[in-house]
């Protein structure tokens, strides 16, 4: 009993809590249903669990995981860079910069990513040669597009451009969430606009940006399963599907894919938690004392107790 922690108040109330039969009945029904599903999952021979187990560690599957993660990472990096540029352009005083940013978001957010990926797969047909030179003038160097932009690059570009359009709005709202007084204080210290953006605005905007950015990353991981539209054929979804077609066992390979996607999204969610904590430093809603905050963080049991991590960056 936690009784010894409390102050010694005489005649403390010993309350009998209200009984909720409805909740109890509902819980029993749900528990039975869950048990039935679990039973069906394990006992249904059609799942072919031995095949699942066999292919869970297949070389092609592991390679597929690698490519899926690589696609996710590169597309998110490309998307974030594009989005940051677009978000800053969106707030520019020059109407050309604002207009281009608006058009980019309009186009790439309005077309399904699957359609965009097919387009990027066909870009070599559209522009067989890409060159570097004077705009509308002579070219100095020419590249064969199909060699320059392979299936992997096309997949990254397609996913990244699409993601950039979504992230641009997220980043813009993040930048706008930073109090105007912050910029003024930084200006008054003699900081230049680029320095203010880098040192003051972006670190504070990150607190607002990180949660949706994490969701977008997890979304991107799942969206990579569409790269067969390019077609790129080495990601987890395509790899498991190819095996399934070869051995005529679609369901166990789907389970393999689902299992690994779940593992990857879970890992990403853990990473997101740590990022949110890092960028949330200095912002506390509950309790103004640092000890309280640290205690709360420690109580969550998800971190090591190391306050130095929070003090110095």
């Amino acid at each position: 009993m936690a009784h010894e922690e409390h102050a010694d108040i005489p005649n403390r109330i010993r309350a009998k809590e209200v009984f909720h039969p409805g909740t109890l009945i509902a819980a029993i029904i749900v528990a039975v249903l869950a048990a039935m599903m679990l039973h069906g999952l394990v006992r249904n021979k059609n799942f072919q669990w031995h095949i699942v187990w066999l292919y869970l560690r297949d070389v092609k599957v592991i390679q597929g995981i690698g490519y899926t993660l690589l696609l996710t990472a590169l597309a998110m990096i490309l998307g974030t860079i594009l989005a940051l540029i677009m978000a800053i352009m969106r707030t520019a005083s020059n109407p050309v910069l604002r207009g281009v940013s608006w058009a980019y978001i309009f186009v790439f957010r309005g077309i399904p990513v699957y359609t965009q990926l097919i387009f990027w797969g066909l870009v070599a047909v559209l522009y067989p040669v890409i060159g570097i030179g004077i705009p509308f003038g002579p070219q100095f160097v020419d590249f064969d597009t199909s060699k320059l932009i392979g299936a992997f690059a096309a997949a990254v570009i397609g996913l990244g451009l699409n993601e950039g359009a979504y992230l641009a709005e997220i980043i813009r709202s993040g930048l706008e969430s930073v109090d105007g007084g912050q910029g003024e204080a930084a200006k008054a210290l003699g900081m230049k606009p680029s320095l203010i953006m880098r040192r003051i605005t972006i670190p504070q905007a990150m607190r607002v940006i990180i949660p949706p950015l994490g969701n977008e990353t997890i979304g991107m991981l799942k969206t990579t399963s569409l790269v067969l539209a390019v077609p790129f054929t080495l990601d987890l979804q395509f790899a498991t599907n190819a095996i399934a077609n070869r051995i005529y066992a679609p369901i166990p390979l789907l389970i393999v894919a689902a299992f690994w996607y779940l593992v990857m999204t879970s890992v990403l969610m853990v990473g997101q938690h740590y990022l949110e904590r890092y960028y949330g430093r200095g912002f506390t809603n509950s309790g103004s004392k640092r000890s309280k905050r640290q205690a709360a963080v420690n109580a969550a049991g998800t971190t090591t107790i190391d306050p130095a991590l929070e003090v110095e960056q």
């Binding site: 109090d179 007084g181 912050q182 003024e184 204080a185 930084a186 200006k187 008054a188 210290l189 003699g190 900081m191 230049k192 606009p193 320095l195 040192r199 003051i200 670190p203 504070q204 607190r207 960028y279 430093r281 200095g282 912002f283 506390t284 103004s288 004392k289 640092r290 905050r293 003090v311």
Partner: protein, 272 residues
């Protein structure tokens, strides 16, 4: 006024000699709203100038013009003899060339400013707040900036809270850190924009004491405040503004205790 003070020794102010701030014929419009209607004001080096006036009289706007947080439509501001915001000489066609962001930033770096709402950087500790500008604007080595920041936090009585984030500090403590932050760039001039207006009454004193200490060290200051006691105690010059013009200016004893205009007398009555 204290024209007899001629030495810089001890706690005496340096002589009230060369002008630090010269404002002439300043006009400021927000759209159709005429906020400042021809302001003339001179603050000498080492002088503490307190701006008084009802809200909406334009005193905060005037302060923000000095640090170029606001643009102005007519007139001229000089800080340390240097024209603020524009090139020294007009172009052949009579227009004035605006300074670049970089040049403006360099001018601002010489002027410290303290805001009503503190505006500390919430993602940095008190120490990091004070170190930020010296490191990234002044290009001071980190160790040196840290030593100087620690010294400044000590001076405002915040050394023991150096590793705390602003959200973990009281309003008065935050404002003291903000003063240390503004001092870290070794400014020639300090601007205070109602530094105690956002504070709970019991926290006003600690901040005013830090500002008084700064005034006694000979810092040139332009202070917008409603604290008459503070004005009486540390100001060399008190300027009363109303409706965008300077109504009365002079020594505190003269302006606060013997107002000559009915406008100022009304204001003093409502504040006291």
């Amino acid at each position: 006024m204290s024209t007899t003070a001629s030495t810089t020794t001890g706690t005496l102010r340096p002589p009230l000699g060369s002008p630090m701030v010269q404002i002439t014929g300043l006009h400021k419009e927000f759209g159709s709203l005429h906020i400042l209607k021809g302001i003339d004001l001179t603050v000498s080096t080492g002088e503490v100038c307190v701006l008084l006036g009802p809200s909406g009289s334009g005193k905060s706007t005037l302060l923000r013009c000095v640090n170029q947080l606001e643009t102005f439509q007519a007139g001229e501001i000089r800080v340390g003899g240097e024209r603020v915001g524009f090139a020294e000489h007009p172009l052949p066609d009579g227009r004035l060339a605006r300074l670049t962001e970089k040049q403006i930033a360099a001018q601002r770096a010489r002027v410290g400013m303290v805001f009503q709402r503190f505006n500390l950087f919430p993602h940095m500790t008190a120490l990091q707040n004070v170190m930020e500008a010296p490191i990234h604007v002044g290009k001071v080595p980190t160790a040196q900036a840290r030593a100087r920041a620690t010294e400044l936090l000590e001076r405002v009585g915040m050394a023991d809270r150096a590793t705390h984030y602003p959200s973990e500090l009281s309003g008065g403590q935050q404002q003291r850190v903000a003063i240390a932050r503004a001092m870290a760039m070794d400014p020639e001039l300090m601007l205070f924009d109602e530094p105690t207006s956002a504070l709970d009454p019991e926290l006003v004193g600690e901040v005013l004491n830090v500002i008084k200490d700064l005034a006694r060290s000979g810092m040139t200051m332009l202070v917008v405040t409603h604290e008459l006691g503070f004005a009486r105690e540390v100001a060399d010059q008190v300027v009363f503004m109303a409706d965008g013009v300077v109504v009365e200016a002079g020594a505190p004893a003269q302006v606060i205790d013997h107002p000559s205009s009915p406008r100022l007398a009304d204001f003093l009555n409502s504040v006291l």
